[in-house]
């Protein structure tokens, strides 16, 4: 769009409501935390930061023999717990940061459940998310990390997704896995890649659907930051 004076302007998308903006901010915030913390996790298992995911997936015997599936990180108060295609970092104060790893071991990927756990357990020195916590908390008594209501989160999540705030980390790999996926006569879903497919490709395909912020999502956060005197993402 071009204004009368020739300046190019971007059309303004409809604003998000405070809860939607809070969840979108938390997606970004949690990604920052994961980037901050990955070195500590990597050091704890004796690999470089970009090798953490593949070490768990492909060098598991070595990892289990030397460090274990779960372990405290010295006197930091943090402990890691690898499971599935994920790793939880848990602090003694209750904070939980979940790595929903993406292709290549990237750590900016997220899921609704991981972001919900981050919000519900977050506290100083991280963001407190007081209002968001109140809104997302479930009614049942549960340990803090399970206290978020996935149904409530899902409503916000679907709105953000519909408005284009997220995108899959690697759509090409999602399509590749889909090509080799079929439903058997027993009703189960089978994934069978050709024999020559590299192990890293198969692993990357398994997490390729995980989400990252889209350019629209990043722009919304940028616009909001510009409009605020203090950066709510810090």
């Amino acid at each position: 769009m071009t204004e009368a004076n020739g300046a190019v302007t971007r059309p303004k998308p409809n604003p998000l409501d405070p809860i939607e903006l809070g969840v979108l901010t938390a997606c970004y915030d949690a990604s920052l935390r994961r980037r901050e913390m990955i070195s500590m996790l990597a050091d704890a298992i004796g690999v470089s930061a970009d090798e953490v995911f593949y070490t768990w997936m492909m060098r598991r015997k070595w990892l289990l023999d030397h460090y274990g599936q779960h372990r405290r990180l010295g006197t930091s108060g943090w402990a890691y717990f690898f499971h599935g295609y994920e790793c939880d970092l848990r602090h003694d104060d209750g904070r939980l940061l979940r790595y929903d790893f993406g292709p290549g071991g990237r750590v900016d990927t997220f899921t609704a459940w991981g972001v919900l756990q981050y919000v519900i357990t977050s506290m100083l020195p991280w963001s407190d998310y007081s209002d968001l916590k109140l809104w997302l908390r479930g009614t049942e008594a549960a340990p803090a990390r399970f206290a978020g209501d996935l149904g409530k989160m899902g409503v916000v999540w679907d709105t953000l997704a519909t408005r284009g705030m997220f995108q899959p980390a690697a759509p090409d790999l999602v399509a590749l896995q889909s090509h080799y996926t079929s439903v058997g006569p027993d009703g189960l879903t089978y994934i069978r890649f050709p024999r020559e497919t590299p192990e890293t490709t198969i692993i990357d395909c398994a997490v390729a659907h995980r989400l990252v912020l889209s350019p629209i999502g990043v722009r919304i956060l940028d616009d909001y930051t510009v409009a605020q005197p203090a950066d709510p993402r810090r």
């Binding site: 599935g84 996935l150 027993d186 189960l188 879903t189």
Partner: protein, 104 residues
């Protein structure tokens, strides 16, 4: 389908947490539909790796054991079987697995 009909003989993880299994079994009893929908959204489907003709749990260990413990069915849409022939990931037969008293 029954957990047994998946023909899984073990897992790629050594440990299972008793309280987590019991809590999942309880939730499965109260409302299986909600349990499985939430479980898939949280942690993805139960993923079974087929390694050289034998099946091992890669993801969803606690859900599988919860279903086993109460004789509940597992929805077919909650299971993915991945051909991992040649994988060198460590595997543990069910009778080798270590049951830990607490929560995952």
């Amino acid at each position: 389908m029954t957990p047994q009909s998946l023909n899984v003989i073990g897992s790629t993880q050594l440990e299972v947490f008793r309280v987590t299994v019991d809590e999942m079994a309880q939730a499965m009893t109260v409302d299986p539909g909600i349990f499985w929908a939430n479980a898939i959204q949280r942690d993805g489907p139960i993923e079974v790796w087929e390694i050289n003709g034998e099946r091992f749990l890669f993801n969803g260990n606690h859900r599988y054991h919860a279903a086993m413990s109460i004789g509940a069915d597992i929805p077919t849409e909650a299971v993915v079987v991945v051909d991992k022939t040649g994988s060198v990931i460590p595997t543990f037969r069910f009778n080798q697995m270590v049951w830990i008293p607490g929560r995952k």
